[in-house]
Amino acid sequence: MAKLKLQINGEEIETEAKEAALLLDVLREGLGLTGTKRGCETSHCGACTVSMDGMAVHSCVVLAARCEGKEITTVEGLSQNGELSELQRLFLKHGALQCGYCTPGMLMAATALLRRNPNPGLEEIKIGLDGNLCRCTGYTGIFEAIQACARGQ
């Protein structure tokens, strides 16, 4: 086990984990932040997506030890002072979620996309969310929510 200093959702957190611990496990098991989901664990489904220094990464294949010095944001960090982010509100409005399991990952990937590119076209949204699978929604609601967010609605 080794000590880890991580920056999660704006907070400095000290925790302990095995050397080879994955960020996903540290978040969920170590820190009880279960918003980030365990899906395929082979970096295909994106249910585990978090933001690392503004980039969307699959936490199931990121070593926690490599995250020292980086800013990690999870879905729990999207709302500010109990207020949902605009993207979260638009996800609700546009039916961008059903079972909700892919949703934290989708939100993190979409947030990272909009940070990089505040006005993405259809193709850019497709590329930005290429690493996130959804089985329920057929993606249409997700598109609409992201486009609405980009339009500033």
Partner: protein, 773 residues
């Protein structure tokens, strides 16, 4: 007793509005609790060892080395647990393989450890000596006399359906007859017989099967959190498996990360119990996605033979369908009493056919045990039947649309599914005409490599039972308590909308709570497209009871008779003196203060499927690259026969999701098997559609006035999938003249078909010489 005949007009205040999901805020905040999010103190991991052979005798298991590993807390094999077979209906599946294994992936041993990696590594130290046995993978081979008999003890199994057959390895044979097909074929001008095959596909819910189990040290009560949408059945199954009375088991219903029919079986729960019992610690088991793809309970692969007799004018005279379901090594995953697939009864399609024969065989093979997946059986059968309709149309030189219109079901036409009186208010023709219109079928200008295909299907709601408890608090909040899990369909939101509508209160004044299996005695659970129909009705009945109770209280408080009280916009008003009124909160507060809080309970059971069909049609437009065989889906037009739409966002979401599952089924998804071994063991190789695969989808709704479910609504959850694959298959044929009769429709298959095509072939249906059947 409130019926579903509510407010025939429009002008609803809550029902029919695009209300955001009531559980949505929790979901977008990462606060919704799925099974694996239940973190109990001192919880340990369970990991299984699985069989590498499709069929083998277990000669010897030596787990001594595994037991000695530091951190390993228990290692169990079949000899450590009761000799009990499990199953949702047919109980034919051991919890751990006892003397033999019957599929690659069958559980042989389980290890518990604090650390997940330690548990996993220890499984590899368990030595198992196997003696391989001849295996069978093809259902058509499995049913022959010489094939290995996979379940010698079949007749002793509990839950064996009466439809069990004497055919080798067939454990269920469902059949339907109307008229006389042999005579029908003799009366036909043309008889066509074609064989279609479909692949195993996985539901691919993002949340893998997860189980958490804890035994209360003082009371012995078994607490369960599990990704399972049938908690009461599961509680009973678990009780039977572990030998603990059902009254001492509590299932805490969790949010479920996608189900699509795949989350109803016991899976790892019994093993969690035995490990918890052995170690004194709470246990969790979460399947890896490789395990899901290897040993979940996917959609049955199938071989389907369709034989159809027609008159030269296109009238269907007789249709015989034989469906051979590759059920895998165990029937334990199938929930209906016949242990067959519910879609089989609609095998002959949405057509008026005077002579019909359906034989549906569930067959044992040495591959993964299969279960239910969105419209089970019908998806496979629609691919076969609707492909053949186009092949017949081609042979008769008629437009596939016209052939379907000519034979489309009408009110009162007998069907195997609805019986001799058929259905009422049938919208089959309207749906066909609508899709022809919205897709501009007749006006389509063909260009090289581009084609269109059409398909038609129908289904209906499911039956079952449900409980609802409704109460009003002194704060005026109306609370609904149910134990039907949220699997993502949006059912919970619809129920709240109904309550808000009937009590004339804002949606925000309604709260929904999901309880445990201690709340009610029993109910069927989510699935079978029954939730809005059955649980919705239970909720309506509860609202009726609550209204009566509230009126009585208000009457007493205002000193008038109950008939004098009207419910208007959430207030109880004295009709004679309208200035005298009470809020729900006031009535609830008074009732509470008197020691009789406002609470009602309702149990509803629907035992008969309504004589109603929900018709859907789809036109697919594709372009095919003749050099590579690659199919590009240009557009899908889908039409649905609806009445009241309870929540338009949720409704369209079910269509969007179902359609794209149909696209995956048609084009990209296949659990590739090599001698019973699933080769596609991650979501990179098992390809479900991702966001880049999104094709333009036009939805058209054919609106009627009548629906069997509450507020005159109709089924949608399982309607938007079956017609997609045949529409695409028909479009590919239209585009490049090759007929793919084996799913999925891959570039390789098209390429080979184009390359091997004899210019004289016209890929029409194989015509059997008339008179020879």
């Amino acid at each position: 007793m409130q019926t579903n005949k509510h407010a025939k007009g429009r002008g609803f205040s809550s029902v029919g509005k695009p209300a955001p999901r009531i559980e949505g805020t929790r979901k977008v905040s990462g606060k919704a609790l799925y099974t694996a999010d239940t973190l109990l103190p001192d919880m340990i991991w369970g990991k299984v060892l699985r069989s590498p052979y499709p069929h083998a005798r277990i000669v010897r298991i030596d787990s001594s080395r595994a037991k000695l590993q530091p951190g390993v807390m228990a290692v169990l094999t079949a000899s450590d647990i009761p000799n009990v077979l499990t199953g949702r209906r047919l109980q034919d599946m051991p919890m751990l393989a006892r003397d033999r294994v019957r599929f690659i992936g069958e559980k042989v041993a389980v290890v518990a450890a604090q650390d997940r990696d330690v548990a996993e590594e220890a499984t590899q130290m368990i030595e198992v000596e196997y003696q391989e046995l001849p295996a069978v993978f093809d259902p058509l081979v499995a049913i022959t006399e010489g094939a290995p008999q996979l379940h010698a003890e079949l007749k002793s199994y509990k839950g064996l359906p009466k439809l069990a057959s004497s055919i080798n390895n067939v454990y269920s044979h469902d059949q339907w007859r109307i008229g006389d097909v042999e005579q029908g074929f003799r009366d036909s001008d043309h008889v066509f017989e074609d064989t279609f095959t479909t692949q195993h596909v996985h539901q691919s819910y993002l949340e893998p099967h997860s189980s958490v189990l804890s035994i209360d040290k003082e009371t012995g009560v078994v607490h369960v959190w599990v990704s399972n949408k049938a908690p009461y059945q599961t509680k009973q199954s678990l009780s039977d498996a572990i030998g603990v009375p059902a009254a001492k088991i509590v299932i805490h219903v969790s949010a479920i990360g996608g189900d699509f029919g795949g989350k109803g079986a016991l899976m790892d729960l019994p093993l969690c119990y035995f490990l918890a019992q052995r170690t004194g610690r709470p246990v969790r088991m979460i399947m890896t996605y490789s395990e899901e793809l290897m040993a979940g309970n996917p959609r049955h692969a199938s071989v389907i033979v369709v034989k159809t007799g027609v008159k030269r004018d296109g009238a269907l005279v007789a249709r015989q369908v034989r469906a051979f379901w590759n059920g895998g090594a165990y029937g334990a995953m199938k929930p209906i009493p016949s242990v067959n697939l519910p879609g089989a009864v609609k095998a002959t399609g949405a057509y008026r056919i005077p002579n019909v024969r359906i034989d549906s065989y569930a067959v044992y093979t040495n591959s993964v045990p299969c279960g239910h997946f969105r419209s089970p059986g019908l998806v496979q059968l629609a691919f076969a039947g609707e492909s053949q309709m186009d092949m017949i149309a081609k042979s008769l030189h008629v437009d596939p649309l016209d052939l379907r219109l000519q034979n489309a079901l009408r009110d009162g036409d007998p069907t195997p599914s609805e019986g001799k009186n058929g259905m009422v208010d049938v919208k089959c023709r309207e749906v066909l005409e609508s899709v022809a219109d919205s897709a501009n079928w007749k006006g389509f200008k063909k260009s090289p490599g581009v084609g269109r295909g059409l398909a038609l299907s129908y289904r209906n709601v499911g039956i079952g039972d449900a409980n609802a408890r409704l109460s009003v608090g002194p704060d005026g909040i109306v609370s609904l308590l149910i134990t039907y899990a949220d699997t993502g369909t949006g059912a919970h939101t619809i129920l709240c909308q109904m309550i808000a509508e009937l009590l004339e209160i804002p949606l925000g004044q309604v709260k929904l709570e999901v309880g445990t299996t201690d709340c009610f005695r029993f109910e069927a659970g989510t699935g079978a497209s029954r939730v809005t129909f059955v649980l919705g009705q239970a909720v309506l009945n509860a609202v009726d009871k609550l209204k009566a109770l509230i009126r009585d209280w208000a009457a007493a408080m205002l000193g008038v008779s109950a008939q004098e009280i009207a419910l208007e916009k959430g207030r109880l008003v004295s009709k004679r003196q309208r200035s005298r009124s009470l809020s729900l909160a006031q009535v609830a507060a008074a009732a509470s203060a008197s020691g009789e809080p406002l609470e009602v309970e309702s149990y509803h059971e629907a035992t008969e499927t309504p004589a109603e069909g929900v018709f859907t049609a789809c036109v697919a437009e594709v372009s095919v690259d003749t050099e590579t065989g690659q199919v590009h889906l240009r557009e899908l037009n889908t039409v649905h026969d609806v009445a009241t739409i309870l929540n338009p966002v949720g409704h369209q979401g079910q269509i969007d999701g179902g359609i794209i599952q149909g696209v995956g089924y048609a084009l990209t998804e296949e659990m590739v098997m090599e001698d019973g071994r699933v080769v596609t063991l991650n979501l990179g190789e098992y390809k479900i559609p991702n966001i880049k695969d999104l094709s333009p989808l036009q939805t058209t709704l054919v609106r009627g006035n009548a629906g069997a479910a509450p507020f005159q609504s109709k089924e949608i959850g399982e309607s938007a999938i079956s017609q997609v694959a045949p529409a695409i298959a028909n479009a590919v044929y239209d585009a490049v003249g090759v007929r793919i009769m084996d799913l999925p429709i891959t570039a390789e298959k098209i390429f080979r078909a184009l390359r091997d095509r004899n210019p004289e072939d016209d890929a029409s249906s194989r015509e059997v010489v008339p008179g020879i059947v």
